[in-house]
Symmetry: C2
Subunit: 164 residues, 2 copies
């Protein structure tokens, strides 16, 4: 098969090893700070321990049965039908093969099944996030706001959104 995304399957149910899998995926991106990787792992653990009351939902992409990407998302408390896409990451060695695009599409479909009407995603303005910005734009997200120097001096927060 010429389709590089061939043999990718998706699951929503987490397994006990997923905190490690997801940490490994996020770490491979060479983009996130150690504190961010810790948070990435904690969200998986919270979902495993609390279930849906955690407010965190996951979609895991697997290639030949091994996790290679994931999204973490959930309804934004105190809003009507708004969702946050907290995390999307694909294993570095599998990037550029369409897995991220499939993940975000499946996530949007899931959100719509949960009556979601809009998705927000926040990201850094740093140069090493340029591929991330292009990815969101390609996926029909538009830049809604910029918070100057939010993360640190010279590191803005960009808020993207997509409405269904």
């Amino acid at each position: 098969m010429n389709d590089p995304a061939f043999n990718i399957s998706f699951r929503e149910t987490l397994c006990p090893d997923d905190p490690d899998h997801i940490y490994h995926i996020a770490e491979s991106c060479a983009l996130f700070y150690p504190e961010e990787l810790t948070v990435a792992r904690e969200l998986v653990e919270e979902r495993l321990s609390k279930g849906e009351t955690s407010g965190y939902y996951f979609i895991i992409a697997e290639k030949h049965g091994a996790p290679v990407g994931y999204t973490c998302f959930g309804p934004i408390p105190m809003t009507r039908n708004r969702f946050d896409l907290y995390w999307i990451a694909v294993l570095k060695s599998c990037q550029g093969t369409g897995i991220g695009r499939q993940l975000i599409q499946k996530t949007e479909t899931r959100i719509q099944h949960m009556n979601g009407r809009r998705v927000y995603v926040e990201t850094s303005s740093r140069d090493d996030y340029a591929p991330t910005h292009r990815f969101y734009q390609t996926c029909h997200y538009h830049q809604e706001a910029v918070l100057k120097d939010y993360y640190a001096p010279g590191d803005d927060k960009i808020i993207y959104t997509r409405t269904f």
Copy 2:
């Protein structure tokens, strides 16, 4: 004494009855949805059970020993020296007497002692929040961004910020 803020004292340490006190203060404002009041209470409970690791800090204003206002704030994870002011509320019957102003000033001083350099606060664009908007502007906060229809159609999120 003509100073209506006379006999106001402030404390940072929470007591076991504070979840009820704070719920009562927030409820008296006739501004927050039931779900928001539940969150207000939960943050106090989380601070009581987890201490500083909760990430939530409080300042309680008391008049003649009874809680009449409070702030809830904390460092924003994954940012450098940025803080969120999650909640500020004053008992309806005590509003307009300068307690809110004192609370925000004491909160800013506390944040600076924690090496905070900037405070963010989010609020609704709804008409009944107009006094809130004026309050932040008077307290030298400026409008950094607006997320259209964030909370619901016709209900934007306004993000204010102040840098020290």
